[in-house]
Symmetry: C2
Subunit: 688 residues, 2 copies
Amino acid sequence: MASTSSDRVLRPDNGQRHPLANALRALAMDAVQQANSGHPGAPMGMAEMAEALWTRHLKHNPGDPQWWDRDRFVLSNGHASMLLYALLHLTGYDLPMSELKSFRQRGSRTPGHPEVGHTPGVETTTGPLGQGLTNAVGMALAEKLLADEFNRPGHTVVDHRTWVFMGDGCLMEGISQEAISLAGAWRLGKLCALYDDNGISIDGAVTPWFADNTAARFEASGWRVIGPVDGHDVDALDAALQQARAQHDQPTLVICRTTIGKGSPAREGTAKAHGEPLGGAEIEATKAALDWTAAPFTVPADVAARWDAREAGARAQADWQQRWAAYAQAYPTESAELARRMSGQLPEGFEAEWIAQLAAVQQRAQTAASRKASHNAIAVLAQRLPELLGGSADLTGSNLTDWPGAQAVRGGEPGGRYINYGVREFGMAAIMNGVALHGGLMPFGGTFLTFSDYSRNAIRMAALMRQRVVHVFTHDSIGLGEDGPTHQPVEHAASLRLIPQLDVWRPGDETETFAAWGMALAQTDRPSALLLSRQNLAAQPRSPEQVMAIRRGGYVLSDRPDARAVIIATGSELALAMAAQAQLDARGLPVRVVSMPSTSVFDRQPADYQRSVLMSERPRVAVEAGVTRLWAAYGCCATVGVDQFGESAPGPELMKAYGFTPEHVAQVVAKAVAHAQPQPASASGHEQ
Amino acid sequence: MASTSSDRVLRPDNGQRHPLANALRALAMDAVQQANSGHPGAPMGMAEMAEALWTRHLKHNPGDPQWWDRDRFVLSNGHASMLLYALLHLTGYDLPMSELKSFRQRGSRTPGHPEVGHTPGVETTTGPLGQGLTNAVGMALAEKLLADEFNRPGHTVVDHRTWVFMGDGCLMEGISQEAISLAGAWRLGKLCALYDDNGISIDGAVTPWFADNTAARFEASGWRVIGPVDGHDVDALDAALQQARAQHDQPTLVICRTTIGKGSPAREGTAKAHGEPLGGAEIEATKAALDWTAAPFTVPADVAARWDAREAGARAQADWQQRWAAYAQAYPTESAELARRMSGQLPEGFEAEWIAQLAAVQQRAQTAASRKASHNAIAVLAQRLPELLGGSADLTGSNLTDWPGAQAVRGGEPGGRYINYGVREFGMAAIMNGVALHGGLMPFGGTFLTFSDYSRNAIRMAALMRQRVVHVFTHDSIGLGEDGPTHQPVEHAASLRLIPQLDVWRPGDETETFAAWGMALAQTDRPSALLLSRQNLAAQPRSPEQVMAIRRGGYVLSDRPDARAVIIATGSELALAMAAQAQLDARGLPVRVVSMPSTSVFDRQPADYQRSVLMSERPRVAVEAGVTRLWAAYGCCATVGVDQFGESAPGPELMKAYGFTPEHVAQVVAKAVAHAQPQPASASGHEQ
């Protein structure tokens, strides 16, 4: 059962017996060669694994890649993209040969790494290693929770599996441990990962840097481990997958001993097979060795017919459709709810309700930390949105991400809507991506803002994949105090704002926090990060129009006739800006206060709205307890911020020491006014 | 041997028998109470572990915290900082009781989490979980490599151990898997980690989210596992540590079954013990239960005397000093070299040599990808700097981080200067931090820039700790081409620049790459990130003065009399800016080209230098293939950049499609000139 590869034996292979697998090999070689770029080794090595799974076990319908109850297939080693494209093409998805011929070319549906939403049949965007496996854990969890909630005796409408292909790179990444640990704890019996154990990574034969006993490692996390099996023996793989499907209480790892670049006389079993085209001569030699005689980008009709999964897929979906119809008749409420959930739409009337909610929150004018305001928002949301799937990376009491009556997700128990992720920020973020990709549940999760660093690439992936995932990042500045610089985010708000397609919110009081939550859920095509304070924030007065204007990301919170400057403030510094304004009033220097809870959203507003808020003819001063670099893009000529690491001390003392006092802000503004020159229009953010 | 905690039995304890451990408990309770903030539970739970290690095994000299051959102690669960401060105080480090009384207060030497360089005896800054353990792997590796290199028969001058305390939080973090996998593969026999297995994390009893068999998991990575032992039985712990010290070929894990908050009648064994003061009444009850009668912040003289390690420490160091003197006599060259290495200084004359090297590189005017230029620089550096310890996260052939004759670090073999980290970016970065903290070796490591996301918090930690670590980040923009948006960094250069105390370089040709390498090594108090291209970059002409000016981070590369605009360019866009300048010349629009390989370094230049380079009275246009937001801080009124995710396509095609052509840059500049208004002085970066 040992999974180390030192005792590996490269077994001879009789290519002729594997025309289906060899079709994958041939297409992978041809496409990589044509692109003069790509990764032939992994597709060639995993060809039989793909044949066994896709022709004998995977439940899918190429004619309807959106069929809810399809199995999910995740290619966690995403550089093997040509394997997936070849599979999608051959089984009958809308991915014609012309797309394979334009592999890695601009505008094609066959990019270098698989991209969800871009290519039919691709379930998640992979490439950054370890995350595909972790997405798959989220998918399998979503399936389980929806099955628990919606299936009824005699009516099994949610019943699919999640399959993963992964390589040693995925297993070396630390996130894989977070994923397997949680999958084991949750006993995700319908998750099956096939490990392409080829003993080779880019730097060579892996044993000097990857000597783990992988079987023992997975067993230590509660997985069932099958194998090693010969990864080039379709029947052996088939038997292993059969075994995996018989398992209900543990996730399964199938260790598949393979040879990278299998079939290539000169390259197989070498790191050189990984990331470059084989070259024309070696492709010829390989095809000859495999007895593959078809022309490039051509598949013999009999082989193509054996791959074609359209009829079988349509039948499978039709069977399910019958079950669904019966379910819809027997359980009209449940079926309508599940249909809504899977559509990703909020309940009818939700937006109007939430607007009323905002008005009520504004009315009660409660002083609260924005993390507490978020807690209050979650409590309201959870009553209305049963699809909410909350959690925290072991900081529930600090992030305040739970709600009254939230049932914990627990291994071996049905249902649950709250996840104790343990101290696993990256895993949490990538699992949330998987849940969102699966559909039917709306994931959010909490940690301290400073540890958004740990999960950063998964946040980026959510943005790239345009998935609605909500990150609750509390303890959002030096204001958290005593925990010190390791825990005090100074560059994090700014650096998250740099990620395209991510909405970052730093609300200034409870109303803005509720507005941010509402916006985060309403944006179905992007993730959001809510940056929340540990410390209390005073409620700000607002007219109903101002309450609505929060949803524009930036708005005038408090104006003065003939305002001579603009203070732009976010989050915990909003009240400070208001206090500075009052001081400046007393000095006879009227200024406008702009609240800017979300630069991301403000940046999407029409230019004339932006100009009307920012008053480009007046000097602007930004006030935010974080690095100041980005504010120049909003035409700020001065800032009150934190361009250094913080230190351990009580929060209020620290804020004062770092200049976050009304006096200091007023002084900076007064100085800016004194030095003011007309601002060129081009210095305002919206025109960058 | 199972390490799950379900079968935990809270054993009764007889406090009176443990006055040494109880002194730690009392001080931790008192300090947290006084601060009204902090974490009493972990120090109280680990008190006997600390007593066993610090009174019976740890080799250290409180009188000289910088003694090279001391054991390293890493508190990976850094929130237990009061345990460490109490230990440092009691054993005789320069940390008086007054410092313990000002725990977590501004200006104290007792911040919320331990900070290296701030408190004598603290070896690394911890708090972000999992990284302390990983730093320790780096320290143990450094010790081994230096011992291999410098010890001689009969002369053992490098011979110390690395000890780690860690909790379940560290083990849940994925980075721990990267660390234990490498420590096992490298067979670091002098590394010993003590696992504070208390079964409790912040969200409660851990089994629902941390059900791993930890013993089996470590054994799967080649560790020797001792225990579980009773973590409150000093003799049992002592025996386990003795066993660990007898181990030479494997790292050791000692599983210590403990009770969080041990001794507190109401809080022990509960999550509530973790992160808040016990309160006056509970402290009284606890002290009564422990039979601890001393006043707060007071330690009975006999207990203090038993803790005092100054004499023993001085003796230990004196013994070593004798061995060192003998070694220095027998091996004068080696001892001088080791002394230099441990001082962190470059060899005498290095800077002058490197300046000559720069001139030679400039002279040869070679077109090369900057990753290849870096490869060339490393080859030269490795000949001169035997302390270089290179590596890559399984991308050696792409990052080009190796050099001719580089010996690989391999488990069970002596020496080595090149590390195949496997696909473990975060682990690599935190191990490099540990190597740098240990001293004697100069770590650098490579991955793709986009995967700096994975290692981001460890990069931040290097900056916070002011450690010289060099990150070689290749494939630095959409210019990498076909691998697509998962692999194309667009926001990464900008977001790294936001980390305080980190130098970011994006060199534009081979000379700038060599200059960046020289600067990165010369900066002993900060990490550097080198952002390097996959694609070829043309060499730029420079005068000797211009070559030297590279080291200012930004400089005028090509000027024109009466220049009417400034183009600021970095990295692969430098040649493009020069081409645009030529086009503008042809149009009769003279412009200056400023090369800005490092905004971080440029920001530290005197304001008048900055102004002289940026010409504040002229419109400025930044050209960089990444997000544009930061350039407004340098007074740029227009940019040519990439404010969106990239896509999969050949690099040159992509660059063209995204506007990186001389024509388009020239057009943007011409438009900026046409719209130019006088720039207010306040819009320039240096005054932000």
